[in-house]
């Protein structure tokens, strides 16, 4: 089931042709490892992919950043997918665990991209915590 795609509010700096010119912030000094953990932080407006070695040290991270204005709403899942692909290619992973946190729009796309990338996944773990709600008036109990 595809989740709803969020529209993005207008920004002061309007980018033209965002899809083609989209650039994702990449760290240049990325170590190459064969086994690691992929962390996916998926909010409704951004997707952050972080690759760590099995001991937890960060090897590489990538962020889709802001996707743009309303007409680029479809870019969000694409941004998640692109971010994931970049992370895997840069590090050269062969085997990985996946930890997902968040319910955002790029979540499913990122997971699909990771699954199709050829990396052998030992497990996919959803560590999204229970969301918090507004406040409910306390009940009066009569004993």
């Amino acid at each position: 089931m595809t989740k709803a795609i969020p529209k993005i509010g207008s920004r002061k700096k309007v980018r033209i042709g965002l899809r083609r010119n989209a650039r994702f912030s990449l760290r240049k000094s990325a170590r190459r490892i064969t086994k690691g953990i992929i962390h996916v932080q998926a909010s409704f407006n951004n997707t952050i992919i972080t690759v760590t070695d099995p001991q937890g040290r960060v090897v590489f991270w990538s962020s889709a950043g802001t996707c743009g204005f309303k007409s680029s709403r479809k870019a969000s899942p694409y941004a998640g997918q692109r971010t994931a692909v970049d992370a895997i290619r840069t590090v050269g992973l062969q085997r990985a665990e996946v930890m997902v946190k968040g319910a955002g729009s790029g979540r499913d796309a990122a997971l699909r991209a990771i699954a199709k990338s050829g990396v052998r996944l030992s497990c996919i773990r959803d560590v999204t915590p229970m969301p918090h709600n507004g406040c409910r008036p306390p009940k009066k109990r009569r004993l």
Binding site: A4, I5, P6, K7, I8, G9, S10, H39, Q41, A42, S43, F44, N45, N46, I48, T50, T52, G56, R57, V58, W61, S63, T66, K70, R73, M99, K101, G102, A103, G104, T128, P129, M130, P131, H132, N133, G134, C135, R136, P137, P138, K139, K140, R141, R142
Partner: protein, 536 residues
């Protein structure tokens, strides 16, 4: 001689001083000193030398320290200044991302709110993070600290409609209804990356609009309140874990809203005010009979559509008197348009006549021939528009046995056939049903057969005319009706016999089913109703 000696000592002393003055420059005069020194002279001269040397050494030492201090202070100041400059820059770039869900209409009002929210969220985040430093809050996420080490801090706000937030609520919290705000944290403390991703704050514009109308402020004000509440959740505050945690979160909510001069009070405080209002509605069950409304029900501010109210011993004491406080509560409820459902062991005619005496008609139509209610201990239930939805019947054998017992021992017995009361002989207790408890006039039947043929019986009421308690009577009829009926002790000198599996709680469940109210609805119960509704 003495004079010569003194003169010599003086001369030697002066020479000594001169020698000591120059001794630091030349080493030759030092060789002369011991030769010329007389025996009594060494002690005072030695003492004189020591202070001078000590003073000199002190001067050198102090001058050295002074110079060192002066020379080191500038570097220290520079270091401090340099050290301070990074902190003055404050945390890294703060990215506030506002998303508008696709299903929301392209409303210029919503776009305007989204634009306003960009700066508002930024202010709130900065203030909240600033409050975290140096605060001693017990219940917050300790991993979100020292935010200076992050190059950027991200908060994601999504404005959506009720359908979207209901899906989220159902998928992630297993509650199938729309709500006002959801906070979804995405912070991973063990990751060492330069982005601090706090998480999502999802706000339903539909719910916010309704709440804004109810609270008398604008939609922007309401969304700000919800945003602050959600933001504090992302920082680890939680008003549901303990009393202390609730107070801390409420305090922080008020602080942020007041500092930024935003209208309205925090969400937790609003809830308390609602709870205060609810305290007036005692002994009530609140429910929403409209299934569509249930989907849109605001959880934090329940909108009462029905109150189910027990009468016996609650609104009315057992001598027919009325409780003033309970009546006041009912008046307030009726004034706000709430429908009142009566639950009682009496008949509907009796209940209608009783409340007519209070002149409730002016306040609203809360009990009449067209009102739903549970009567005769659950044997008789009227649903929508006052139509009968359930009628239980007492077993004929039980009725016959009871009637025979009544005739034999001259114990007054009243049989309830829906609205009509029947008995076998006149008795003052029976007369009380009409004069005090407002039942219809009791009919006297001439024989047991005539009474049984009148109609089906829903309830039997027996009086014990003696002053003793009715334990003997109750025990007798419990044995008599075992497996066929249920005996209820209402007063010290009366017992009710009702059909098997009949009770107020059971009747209430039948009525709720008829009205379309299920357990999944927003149904709150207070007092006895908690026990009743949980019995299954």
């Amino acid at each position: 001689m003495v004079r010569l000696h003194q003169l010599l000592s003086r001369t030697l002393a002066s020479h000594q001083i001169l020698a000591s003055a120059t001794s630091s420059v030349r080493s030759t005069p030092r060789l002369l000193l011991p030769l010329r020194l007389p025996p009594p002279a060494p002690p005072p001269h030695g003492r004189t030398l020591l202070p001078i040397i000590v003073a000199a050494s002190r001067q050198y030492a102090s001058s050295t320290f002074g110079r060192r201090g002066r020379s080191t202070r500038p570097p220290m100041l520079l270091r401090r200044k340099r050290a301070r400059s990074p902190t003055r820059k404050g945390p890294g770039e703060l990215r506030v991302q506002i998303g508008i869900e696709e299903a929301l209409p392209d409303d210029p009002g919503i776009l305007s709110i989204a634009e306003t929210l960009r700066t508002d969220v930024g202010k709130a985040v900065k203030l909240a993070l600033n409050d975290l430093e140096g605060s001693d809050y017990m219940t917050r996420d300790p991993s979100i600290c020292n935010v200076d080490k992050y190059a950027s801090i991200e908060v994601s706000v999504l404005l959506c409609d009720d359908d979207f937030i209901r899906k989220l609520n159902k998928e992630w919290r297993d509650e199938d209804h729309a709500t006002d705000v959801l906070s979804m944290s995405q912070h991973i403390p063990e990751l060492d990356i330069p982005i601090l991703q706090l998480g999502d704050i999802v706000i339903s514009v539909d719910t916010a609009r309704r709440q804004a109308e109810e609270r008398g402020h604008t939609l922007v004000d309401e969304i700000r309140i919800l945003m602050v509440h959600g933001l504090l959740h992302l920082l680890g505050f939680d008003h549901e874990v303990s009393k202390v945690a609730e107070e801390e979160m409420e305090k922080e909510e008020e602080h942020i809203l007041n500092t930024l001069e935003w209208r309205g009070k925090g969400l937790i405080k609003s809830a308390y005010d609602i709870a205060t209002v609810m305290e007036h509605l005692q002994n009530s069950v609140e429910a929403d009979s409209n299934i569509e409304k249930v989907i849109l029900q605001e959880k934090h501010q329940p909108k009462l559509s029905h109150i189910i109210c027990d009468i016996d011993g609650t609104i009315m004491d057992y001598e027919g008197g009325l409780h003033e406080k309970s009546i006041g509560s009912l008046r307030e409820a009726i004034a706000t348009g709430v429908n009142v459902i009566m639950v009682t062991g009496k008949s509907r005619a009796s209940t209608i006549r009783t409340f007519k005496l209070l002149d409730f008609r002016e306040k609203g139509d809360f009990i009449s021939e067209t009102s739903p209610g549970v009567f005769l201990q659950g044997s008789l239930i009227y649903g929508r528009d006052g139509k009968k939805v359930h009628r239980a019947e007492l077993d004929l054998d039980v009725c016959k046995e009871a009637l025979l017992y009544s005739l034999k021992h001259r114990i007054p017995l009243v049989a309830y056939c829906e609205e009509q009361c029947l008995t076998l002989f006149e008795h003052p207790f029976v007369e009380l049903l009409h004069t005090v408890h407002n039942e219809n006039k009791v009919k006297v039947m001439h024989s047991i057969e005539d009474l049984l043929e009148y109609s089906s019986i829903q309830k039997l009421l027996l009086f014990d005319s003696t002053k003793e308690d009715s334990s003997v009577l109750r025990q007798h009829f419990s044995e008599l009706s075992r497996g066929k009926a249920h005996v209820i002790k209402m007063h010290s000198n009366t017992i009710d016999i009702v059909p098997l599996n009949t009770s107020k709680g059971g009747g209430l469940r039948i009525l709720l089913d008829h009205l379309g109210i299920t357990k999944d609805c927003d149904l709150d119960s207070i007092g006895d109703y908690t026990r009743w509704l949980s019995n299954k």
